[in-house]
């Protein structure tokens, strides 16, 4: 399968409805905004919407006095955000590839990526957004049945299986190809098919001598 065919770009998944603050807003204001929007990251911008920093809920927790201290120091809450925001930031561009930025999350152990274009903040991608786009790749968000076929690891297999499915006029909502763990001479093709009645497709596949795993709980077959 052509890898570029399924590659999404950042602007397709980034959030553009942004909650931001200025660097002289107080920590208390940041707390309230995060709570009311149920978010964990706040980009800090200047008057021109140029990104100057980022505050996470963890930055704020770290700055709070310990709950074991009896006297609550409310002074902390009145300090400007500037005092705790992160300023050396990893950002990316709306045209970056989703697969590539996914690696940044792992490499730098970060929870969100601000998206910057022309110096200005235009969006944000969080771990959750990334996960949602991966779920969309599997097609699991649309009603469908899952069919798994074990095939020899050689050319043309995907094509043969797909044409059997399409002969039954069933719409394929996604395809994944897994290596077969026990034997590298095989692959598992996973199809999500938009039908409640895959039985005839499965019969056709079996007639064509394909090995259908459905469902494939080890030691049990239907």
């Amino acid at each position: 399968m052509n890898k570029r065919g399924i590659q999404m770009i950042v602007e397709e998944i980034m959030k553009t409805d942004l909650a931001t603050l200025k660097k002289d807003n107080t920590i208390e204001e940041a707390c309230h905004l995060m709570e009311s929007k149920r978010i964990r990251h706040l980009p800090i911008v200047d008057d021109e919407f140029v990104l100057v920093g980022l505050v996470s809920d963890r930055d704020i927790r770290d700055a709070m006095p310990s709950r074991f201290l009896i006297e609550q120091d409310s002074e902390v809450l009145n300090k400007p955000i500037e005092s705790l925001m992160t300023t050396s930031l990893i950002t990316c561009h709306p045209l970056d590839f989703v697969e590539e930025i996914a690696a940044l999350f792992y490499e730098h152990s970060i929870g969100c990526l601000p998206i910057v274009k022309d110096q200005k903040l235009v969006g944000i991608v969080t771990e959750t957004d990334l996960l949602h786009s991966l779920v969309a790749l599997t097609g699991a968000h649309q009603p469908g049945s899952q069919i798994e076929v074990k095939v020899p690891n050689k050319g043309g297999m995907l094509n043969s299986v797909a044409s059997i499915i399409s002969a039954r006029k069933a719409n394929i909502s996604s395809v994944l190809v897994y290596p077969y763990q026990k034997d590298e001479r095989y692959k598992i093709l996973v199809f999500r098919v938009q039908t409640m009645n895959p039985t005839r497709i499965i019969e056709d596949l079996k007639k064509a001598d394909f090995h259908v795993l459905w469902p494939n709980l080890p030691g049990v077959s239907s």
């Binding site: 009603p143 469908g144 899952q146 006029k169 009645n197 039985t199 469902p215």
Partner: protein
């Protein structure tokens, strides 16, 4: 526990028919009613005909453009391209003549059942033509065109201002109904189904709990493929008792798909007639305990129309009417009349034999996994309960 029950039916319901080889086959309604008649469990006085749903009633849930598309499709006037966008003309929901009228009658049948119960004419009402839980606001899906259950629940809220507990025991996840009320705390949905790992529609995970104000009012118990009676019933009975106690509904609405049976050709569970005896029994108990008897029951899936559905669905009516004449042999005249029309040997008793299927390997692991799934699904309720115990 007693009260009048009504059975919503007319032969007109059989016009919801995709084609002669489609697995969704409403001849099962006829088979069920005939079994009840030959058991002397129902009289003509118990049966009331369905009325069609009005357009305004369909619009409670469905997009007017979609309703219009269904009507045009039934007249042969919808282009193939437009149809596809609405999920019509597919292998699952092919176009058939007058499909709008047939589907509206099916919705209206469920509304008829609702009105009977809510106006006090009956305590319980059964409409086996309904239960089309996959229908979406603007799209046909999984053999369902209009979603009678969603429309009826919205109708219950708007017209009668009640809180509804929806219980779905079909082998497939009740996705259409769940998404209709996902943000509504006046409707609590509970669906027990085969896991969506392979099976349509793929949703119904434990962590689908609702959103916004409706968070915490959707419950899902996905059981593993090959689940057997005991493990299935353990999940059902515990879940329904806890959820009913938590939600305290005014009305209970049950969807009774009969496709979790070992014989069902579309699913992979290993249940027998035993669960179909117990499902309505507990629903009936809950109806009297919390809802002053108000219980509306509909059908749903069920694709072994000869060996499974007639017995399973008859048992709902037998439970509603507290008729215990449902053990031992099936009436001879029912078996002999239908046997020649059936391609498989009909059962001759109400219950299944113990030797229905070979032993399931890994049974203990499946049972354990289902128990953990149940615990996860009920976690918020049980947590709340144990906090309350500590507080008091």
């Amino acid at each position: 526990m007693s009260g009048r029950s009504v059975f919503v039916y007319s032969d007109e319901l059989l016009k919801y028919k995709f084609s002669s080889h489609h697995p969704f086959n409403q001849v099962r309604l006829k088979l069920t009613l005939d079994l009840l008649k030959k058991t002397n469990a129902i009289t003509d006085a118990d049966i009331i005909p369905p009325r069609p749903a009005t357009e305004e009633e369909l619009f409670l849930i469905h997009d007017p453009n979609y309703v219009n598309a269904v009507r045009l499709a039934g007249l042969g006037k919808l282009s193939e391209e437009t149809a596809e966008g609405y999920g019509l003309g597919t292998e699952d929901t092919p176009i058939f003549p007058n499909m709008h009228e047939a589907s509206s009658l099916l919705v209206g049948g469920t509304l008829t059942a609702v009105d009977q119960v809510m106006t006090g004419k009956a305590d319980h009402a059964l409409h086996l033509g309904g239960g089309l839980h996959h229908g979406f606001r603007g799209k046909a899906s999984g053999f369902c065109i209009y979603n009678d259950s969603s429309v009826a629940i919205k109708y219950l809220i708007e017209k009668y201002n009640v809180r509804v507990l929806y219980v779905d025991t079909d082998a497939h996840h009740g996705d259409g109904v769940q998404w209709s009320f996902y943000d509504d705390p006046n409707v609590c949905t509970l669906s027990i189904h085969e896991t969506g790992r392979y099976l349509f529609p793929g949703t119904g995970n434990v962590n689908e709990r609702g959103q916004g104000k409706g968070y915490g009012y959707s419950f899902n118990i996905p059981v593993d493929a090959f689940t057997e009676d005991e493990s299935w019933l353990y999940a059902y009975q515990n879940a329904l008792k806890e959820v009913a106690d938590f939600f305290k509904p005014d009305v209970i609405f049950t969807q009774n798909g009969a496709d979790s049976h070992y014989y069902d050709p579309l699913t992979h569970l290993s249940a027998t007639m035993r669960i179909y005896r117990e499902i309505p029994r507990l629903a009936h108990e809950i109806a009297h305990q919390y809802c002053n008897g108000k219980w509306i029951a509909v059908g749903g899936g069920g694709y072994d129309i000869w060996r499974v559905v007639p017995r399973a669905w008859s048992l709902i009516w037998m439970e509603m009417t507290e008729n215990s004449n449902c053990y031992g042999s099936l009436p001879d005249d029912w078996v002999s009349y239908w046997q020649e029309k059936s391609s498989v040997a009909l059962p001759i008793e109400w219950d299944d034999p113990a030797t229905l299927y070979p032993a399931i390997p890994r049974k203990d692991e499946i049972t354990e996994k289902n128990r953990l799934t149940l615990e996860k699904a009920l976690y918020p309720i049980l947590q709340k309960k144990s906090n309350e115990r500590i507080d008091t």
